[in-house]
């Protein structure tokens, strides 16, 4: 017999104090977002399937819960917010003054093996910044992320900042077939040196290029890494990416925040839609990143309006593993039923909490 104590894998029920803690956490985060002039957007929990495929690319489509409505449309439960927000900005808000700053908070659904802190239904909370390219918007959202983590009382955090253009510029020149690039990304992603060597043996690349690829997984650290990377690459796309990262790093230095920033040029994971900077936030003693984001200038264009875009999202479930927000006890006056309901109403009108004793 099925046990009703279980919920489907990857889902959970949050009750009472835990629920109050989650809401307190969300409120703290939202107040930071609002403090930076981000407005809330509440998108639907499902939309047309192709909205998400356009947004996320074809890789993660297996993870999308989809269904067919009575008119035969293919719909999908939202696996992320960015596609939904980008679509809205590119259509409904196309004529609004830029930049547009939006934040969202809610559950997303993905068919994943529930492990490694991943659920099938999980709460995300994040911001999107549309209409501004260049470092200012990039720095703004990084600062919002930093302030949010600080406001949650987290001190030991690191933001790993990379750029898809650095690696992109390198592979552009190599003219490799897509499946070879995918293999290359796979070994670089896990920093698998022996796997990389085995692959390099099979790739028709010169020694200089092989040297670059061998270096990529280790290009991570402070500002020195940028200088190190400059020695390796000459192509304009990679060089521009390095200039950009260096500028951001310098701004962080001038704000005395550079201790939280790590340049990571070996970081090449993420949805297809990323186009510039890419970052993840890690907290000491938590085995997973708590936030990830980046720039995705191509995304609004997929919905008909070319606009630069940058943003990130926090995983609420993961933050909950390291942050325990203070919640105040609810002081309720106990009312015996004998006192009459009018007594309860009176207290309620004066703003007091009541608990009826039945």
């Amino acid at each position: 017999m099925k046990s009703y104590a279980q919920t489907p894998p990857g889902t959970q029920i949050v009750i009472g104090r835990a629920a109050r803690r989650r809401r307190a956490l969300e409120r703290t985060i939202c107040s930071v977002f609002e403090g930076w002039s981000y407005e809330e957007i509440i998108p639907p929990i499902f939309d047309y399937y192709d909205v998400f495929v356009k947004g996320m690319g074809t890789g993660p489509e297996e993870q999308i819960y989809r269904f067919i409505d009575r008119e035969g449309n293919i719909l999908a439960l939202r696996p992320e917010f960015t596609s939904l927000v980008a679509k809205t900005v590119a259509t409904r808000l196309a004529s609004s003054q830029k930049p547009i700053r939006l934040y969202y908070s809610g559950e997303v659904l993905r068919f994943e093996k529930p492990k490694g802190g991943r659920q099938r239904e999980f709460a995300q909370i994040g911001i999107e910044h549309y209409g501004a390219s260049g470092k200012t918007a990039d720095v703004e959202i990084l600062l919002v992320a930093v302030e949010t983590l600080q406001r949650l009382g987290i001190q030991a955090f690191q933001i790993n900042l990379g750029s898809v253009d650095f690696f992109g510029g390198i592979v552009d020149r190599m003219e490799l077939p897509a499946d070879r690039i995918a293999e290359l990304k796979e070994v670089l992603n896990v920093k698998d040196r022996s796997g990389l060597e085995a692959l390099l043996e099979r790739l028709p690349l010169g020694d200089r290029r092989k040297k670059i690829l061998r270096a990529v997984p280790h290009l991570t650290g402070g500002k020195a890494v940028i200088a190190e990377a400059r020695e390796l690459v000459r192509n304009p796309r990679s060089v521009e990416a390095l200039d950009h990262l260096e500028e951001i790093y310098s701004i962080f230095q001038s704000l005395d925040l550079a201790q939280h920033l790590t340049i990571d040029l070996g970081e090449i994971r993420g949805f297809d839609y990323y186009s510039g900077i890419l970052f993840r936030a890690y907290v000491r003693d938590l085995g997973f990143e708590v936030a990830s984001g980046g720039r995705y200038d191509g995304l609004p264009g997929a919905f008909g309006e070319d606009l630069p875009a940058v943003g990130f999202s926090f995983s609420v479930d993961r933050l909950e593993q390291i942050v325990t927000p203070e919640i105040s006890e609810i002081e309720a006056a106990s009312i015996a039923v004998d006192d009459g309901f009018d007594k309860a109403l009176q207290l309620r009108r004066s703003g007091k909490a009541v608990r009826l004793c039945l």
Binding site: K113, K115, G116, G117, A156, F157, Q158, N160, V190, K191, D192, R193, S194, G195, P217, T220, G221, T262, D264, R280, Y282, V283, R284, D285, L286, G287, F288, E289
Partner: protein, 258 residues
């Protein structure tokens, strides 16, 4: 303090040897004790002993910062972990194997490949897909032809879908999926070699170290799926938040294996 997950079993001794050469010494009774947690003599590391298949999980969840496990179990678990070093021990292959001669009955004139044991990638799927070399009457009288994993139309198997017994259901499924061959996977936890001998499965996918066990049981390798050896695993977040300690560990181990 960094937590390192180590496999109980055949990997334990070479793992401890390697760590010792890298200057990380654990109590001598580690291998014989029933305890599962040990601190290194200098208190900088903590070893936790887990089942081989669980090492990647411990590291992925961040319960351990690092781990040592075979590439086979990492592939099978699909754990999202960094794998910076090949530790150069525990070499073996993950291979498809079957009963001697079952893949290419000599009546079809493919004895040469059968004798070679391992099918090279040049001979893999596609080759011989179109024209069955058996005489037409044989096709009519026997069971319907099926596609076996070598991409040949063949019908020595009694089932329309071949059965594969394995400890590695995911690797097996990926392998057959990549070749577009329908299979029924039978997950077993040990004595995999037995399965084709008593008709439970047509093929097995298993670790092959020397090939001795296969040979003793009248089995042979049909195709090597991939090579495996011991890997150093690192938790992604730990790599960022405990960078100095983690890099020191990687460098120390790298020096030893070079």
């Amino acid at each position: 303090m960094l937590v390192i997950a180590l496999c109980k079993g055949r990997f334990l001794e070479p793992s401890l040897d390697l760590l010792m050469q890298a200057g990380i010494r654990f109590p001598e009774d580690l291998a014989s004790s029933r305890k599962l947690i040990f601190n290194s003599d200098d208190q900088r590391f903590r070893a936790v002993l887990v089942k081989p298949a669980d090492v990647a999980t411990y590291v992925e969840y961040g319960a351990a910062d690092a781990g040592i496990a075979g590439r086979d179990v990492v592939l099978e678990s699909r754990a999202d972990v960094l794998q910076p070093l090949d530790l150069k021990f525990g070499y073996c292959k993950i291979a498809v194997a079957g009963v001697n001669g079952a893949a290419f009955p000599s009546s079809q004139g493919r004895g040469g490949r059968e004798a070679a044991g391992v099918v090279s990638s040049a001979e893999m799927p596609g080759a011989g897909l179109t024209t069955p070399s058996a005489p037409p009457d044989r096709w009519l009288s026997a069971q319907p032809p099926i596609l076996c994993e070598e991409g040949n139309v063949d019908h020595q198997f009694s089932r329309p879908t071949i059965r594969v017994a394995t400890k590695y259901p995911r690797i097996t499924m990926d392998y057959y999926n990549a070749r577009g061959i329908p299979v029924e996977i039978i997950p077993l936890s040990g004595s995999i070699e037995l399965a084709p001998l008593i008709g439970l499965a047509d093929r097995i996918v298993d670790l092959v170290e020397t090939g001795r066990t296969l040979k003793d049981n009248g089995l042979e390798i049909v195709e090597v799926i991939t090579d495996s050896s011991a890997r150093l695993l690192i938790n992604r977040a730990g790599y960022q938040t405990k960078r100095d300690e983690v890099l020191r560990l990687i460098q120390a181990l790298e020096k030893v294996i070079r």
